[in-house]
């Protein structure tokens, strides 16, 4: 890796579920590095550990062992409250099923993370102005007061994208962001992610769909809790070179 700022650096992280004799290792020694501004896909079949890895990268859980540096800070030993703070300040989530609050306007959904920003309480007007700008960017300026059930799937996902950006995160994590969408809406969402990437946002996306993964610069493929290989995707998605990753 070059001297570029590293957003994600994991060192031999493992995740073991269960206790004692009947423990299952979901991750057994994953070391990856993702630089600022990268657009990376994590692929793998179910059971490969990609969801577990995503949860750890998103600070929703902690690795059993190993270290995880997020934006240079070791977050692998933080407690629940500290992890919540990291999610609040540094991470934006885009989920497969959008995960918007029901019966809550698009605007309020987008400002939700700011509600929990204890270190930097904002005035409502300030939060609203920022959210309106983001909703405009994702093409929903006319629907800021609509509630999720009044929006299409693609529109809901765009609200979720706006929400993931409200805290100026260092990392946006997508969990099958197009999984629930038809191909047309999925295309729109990918285009939007490309736009964000072009603006310098670091995006890590978990998917099982090679066509979606091909949109990214790099695909990290997991198998049985380990990195299997890393694919560098070409600009036009035609030339791909595979590099067998040396597992530790």
């Amino acid at each position: 890796m070059n001297a570029q700022r590293k957003i994600i650096e994991t060192v031999d992280i493992t995740k073991v579920y269960g206790m004692g004799d009947i423990s299952v290792a979901a991750l057994s020694g994953v070391s990856i590095t993702i630089a600022a501004g990268e657009f990376v896909a994590i692929m793998g079949q179910s059971g490969s550990g990609k969801s577990t890895l995503m949860h750890i990268l998103g600070c929703l859980s902690r690795p059993t062992s190993g270290q995880y540096f997020l934006d240079g800070e070791d977050v692998s030993q933080l407690n629940k409250v500290q992890l919540a703070g990291v999610r609040n300040h540094k991470i934006g989530f885009i989920f497969q099923s959008y995960n918007l609050l029901a019966r809550t306007s698009a605007l309020r959904n987008v400002t939700l993370p700011l509600l929990y920003d204890h270190s930097n309480p904002r005035k409502q007007e300030e939060a609203d102005a920022k959210a309106e700008k983001l909703l405009e960017m994702v093409g929903l300026s006319g629907r800021i007061h609509h509630q999720p059930h009044e929006l299409s799937g693609g529109q809901q996902q765009r609200v979720a994208i706006a929400r993931s950006l409200i805290n100026d995160p260092v990392l946006v994590i997508g969990d099958e962001p197009t999984g629930n969408l038809d191909s047309h809406s999925g295309e729109e969402i990918m285009n939007l992610l490309h736009t964000l990437h072009a603006q310098g946002t670091t995006i890590v996306m978990v998917t099982h769909d090679p066509k979606i993964a091909a949109h990214t610069q790099r695909t990290i493929s997991l198998l049985d809790g380990k990195v299997d290989f890393i694919t560098h995707n070409g600009h036009n998605n035609t030339q791909q070179k595979q590099v067998k990753h040396e597992t530790v």
């Binding site: 998103g58 929703l60 409250v81 703070g85 989530f93 939700l112 993370p113 929990y116 204890h118 309480p121």
Partner: protein
């Protein structure tokens, strides 16, 4: 998260489920209203009793005969007898007047109308004065008429209306039991005195009661038995001294000792304290009952909050994923529980005060809304909300974000 934000989230959550929120609050509403109404009723009752007791007139000593069966071969001791009254008046210093009463009951007949089982009160002439009762019409009987066993009666206000309606009762002849007697007066309305309703009594010279209604084969030897002696005491005298003198005099006359006395002596003060202890027991019982309904209301809140936490697991997961800490989640649900109970409490105060007012005006019970009970009920509601809201809120705070997000 600021408290104001937590409050606005809680308020929105309550409004999203209006019917359920209302049903949840109902327990608290009923609890708070019950406390306020119960306390208002018992305070009203207490105020009424206080007024009645004060209206009995002060410096009054009550001596009540307690019937005692004699041992084998002895005549039953009849307790107080008529001559005791005269002995007290003569033998105890500081006594301003002595009044005697004996009770019986009988049917009363006037023209075609017969009233069954009317309470008869045989008294001496000082009765209206010691019991602080007014004569509305006509007059009370005199000592001379008592001595002559004149067949004359004075009617309680309600009884007079029942017998005569619009007609003037004075100088009418009525039949009491089998004896024809002349109505010479009607008492003013008095209302309840303790538990006695003098308005439905018929008053007559005590000598007539002895002769016609409570004849006794022992009267010749023991004297005519009486129920009660009222002793009115000079306010400047020491009432305790007078009571002691009276007790000694009576046990001597009855040939008994203070330990075996066949009568009891009470003062106005004794009656007030007895009444107070009864009403305060009554009041605390009611408060407990109402308090239990508040707790039941609290359990209702806990129940609904637990359902709500389960239903909103996904929402909790979403909030956690964007950075809500366990404290944030706990605060949100605790605020919601607290708000349910506080809003319920406020509605309960309205219902309670309104209910006490309506109850007071529709029934003949008096209600006095006590500010203390309003504060107590509302405070308890809030505490109940916080107490029963804490467990569900804590359950919510403990949820794992990944599990919560997966929840369908």
């Amino acid at each position: 998260m600021k408290l104001s934000e937590a409050a606005s989230i809680a308020w929105e959550a309550i409004l999203k489920n209006k019917v359920r929120s209302f049903l949840t609050m109902l327990g608290i509403i009923i609890g708070v209203a019950a406390v306020i109404i119960m306390v208002a009723i018992s305070a009203g009752t207490e105020a009424t009793i206080q007024e009645q007791i004060t209206s009995l007139g002060s410096n009054l000593v009550f001596i009540q005969g307690s019937m005692k069966r004699g041992g084998p071969g002895q005549a039953p001791s009849g307790g107080l007898v008529f001559d005791d009254a005269a002995a007290i008046e003569e033998g105890v210093s500081g006594v301003t007047s002595v009044v005697v009463e004996q009770n019986s009951s009988s049917n009363i007949k006037y023209s075609d109308l017969t009233l069954a089982d009317i309470s008869i009160l045989g008294t001496t002439s000082g009765f209206p004065s010691v019991r602080d009762m007014e004569i509305a019409d006509g007059r009370y009987f005199t000592d001379k008429e008592i001595d002559r066993k004149q067949k004359m009666v004075v009617l309680g206000a309600a009884l007079a209306t029942e017998l005569f309606g619009e007609e003037d009762p004075i100088n009418q002849i009525i039949t009491v039991g089998t004896t024809k007697m002349t109505v010479i007066g009607v008492m003013a309305e008095k209302g309840l005195v303790g538990t006695t309703n003098y308005d439905s009594y018929i008053f007559m010279p005590i000598t007539v009661v002895f002769q016609k209604f409570t004849p006794s084969q022992f009267a010749r030897f023991l004297g005519d038995s009486i129920r009660m002696i009222y002793v009115e005491v000079d306010p400047d005298e020491n009432i305790e001294d007078i009571i002691t003198q009276t007790r000694l005099l009576l046990v001597k006359r009855h040939d008994l000792t203070l330990d075996t006395a066949d009568f009891t002596v009470t003062t106005q003060q004794d009656i007030i304290s007895t009444q107070e202890s009864t009403t305060s027991a009554f009041r605390s019982l009611l408060a407990w009952v109402a308090g239990v309904s508040l707790i039941v209301g609290g359990i209702g809140i806990m129940n609904i909050m637990l359902v709500s936490v389960t239903e909103r697991t996904r929402e909790i997961g979403i909030r956690q994923s964007v950075g809500a800490t366990p404290d944030d989640i706990r605060l949100q649900f605790l605020t919601e529980a607290l708000m349910l109970s506080v809003v319920g409490g406020l509605i309960g105060i309205g219902v309670g005060i309104g209910g006490a007012y309506i109850f007071g005006s529709l029934s003949d019970m008096r209600t006095v809304v006590q500010l203390g009970s309003v504060a107590l009920a509302f405070g308890s509601a809030a505490i109940v909300g916080a107490f029963f809201g804490y467990y569900p809120a804590n359950q919510a705070a403990k949820l794992d974000p990944i599990e919560a997000l997966r929840y369908e």
